[in-house]
């Protein structure tokens, strides 16, 4: 089983893992929202374009 008791080092270990998880989640959110925005823009532009 995982050992979650970091003892005296908890103040360093948890923030390191926490900030990593936070930044990676922010990256996912940022890239996915840009992808959705670009897809919407393309759909809209293709709808306007007669070709």
């Amino acid at each position: 089983m995982p050992d979650l008791n970091m003892g005296e080092y908890g103040a360093y270990v948890w923030p390191a893992w926490g900030v990593s998880a936070l930044v990676m989640a922010a990256l996912v959110w940022s890239v996915l929202s840009k992808a959705r925005k670009a897809k919407r823009a393309l759909d809209q532009a293709e709808g306007r374009d007669p070709s």
Partner: protein, 239 residues
């Protein structure tokens, strides 16, 4: 390989890739977290060794993403290929995020082990310079309105920044640094036991696949956005 340089072919070849890579990254990260917290504590560093499982992969990726960005910039500059330019542009914010993580988690590891959050030694300073190159690349692109000129100027900066990669990598050998020398990729093999090395390598692969999933998604978004902009411009010109 070069066939994929065609944006349309790239888009059709990579349609399902982000989902596949995303699932693989999620599974690998879950395995890495499990292994990272079931590994025994280090006899010298205690539980702070677990910071290594997020610090070292972020550091590897900070260098690898810059190398990828530099390579893409080279193709964008020499062959003026729009997909290479899109690849370089989309790699920058992801690489900057990994470099920031390397600096922050390194600082959190340094405090209990070295007794300081920061030291102006060669490794830490050269990684800070790497972070500044990423920021400079993004700032330069954002500061020039003409997309093509912005891409070319940023590509030159990205290529100039490549010189910093060997400095980061070998700084611990060339100078006396507080930072420890390489302990995984060494001529005489890794300087750690399997129960520490395994979670580190799993996390390294997980971060790499995670980056690949994000990068492919971001390039696809950039291609879609540029196509949308071109169509909107054409429609506005014809109106």
């Amino acid at each position: 390989m070069f066939g994929l340089a065609n944006p349309q072919r790239f888009m059709s070849a990579t349609r399902r890739l982000p989902a596949v890579l995303g699932v693989a990254a999620g599974l690998l990260l879950a395995a890495g977290v499990w292994l990272g917290f079931t590994a025994p504590e280090d006899y010298q560093q205690g539980d702070t060794v677990r910071i290594m499982f997020v610090h070292v992969p972020a550091s590897w990726l900070s260098l690898a993403v810059y190398a990828a960005m530099g390579g893409a910039s080279f193709f964008a500059l020499v062959f003026r290929h729009p997909l290479a330019d899109a690849a370089a542009r989309t790699a920058a914010p992801i690489g900057a995020a990994f470099t920031a993580l390397a600096l922050i988690t390194g600082s959190l590891w340094g405090r209990p082990m070295w007794g300081t959050w920061w030291e102006w030694d060669a490794r830490l300073t050269s990684v800070l310079v790497l972070f500044l190159f990423y920021l400079g690349y993004m700032a330069l692109r954002a500061s020039i309105d003409d997309e093509q000129k912005a891409g070319r100027a940023a590509a030159v900066l990205a290529l100039a920044g490549l010189i910093n990669l060997p400095i980061v990598k070998f700084s611990v050998d060339w100078w006396n640094t507080l930072h420890q020398p390489a302990s995984v990729f060494r001529a005489d093999g890794p300087a750690m036991t399997a129960d520490i090395l395994t979670p580190l390598l799993v996390m390294g692969v997980a971060y790499t696949v995670f980056f690949a999933a994000l990068w492919v998604t971001a390039i696809r978004a950039e291609v879609n956005q540029r196509r949308a902009n071109a169509l909107a411009l054409r429609a506005a010109g014809g109106a």
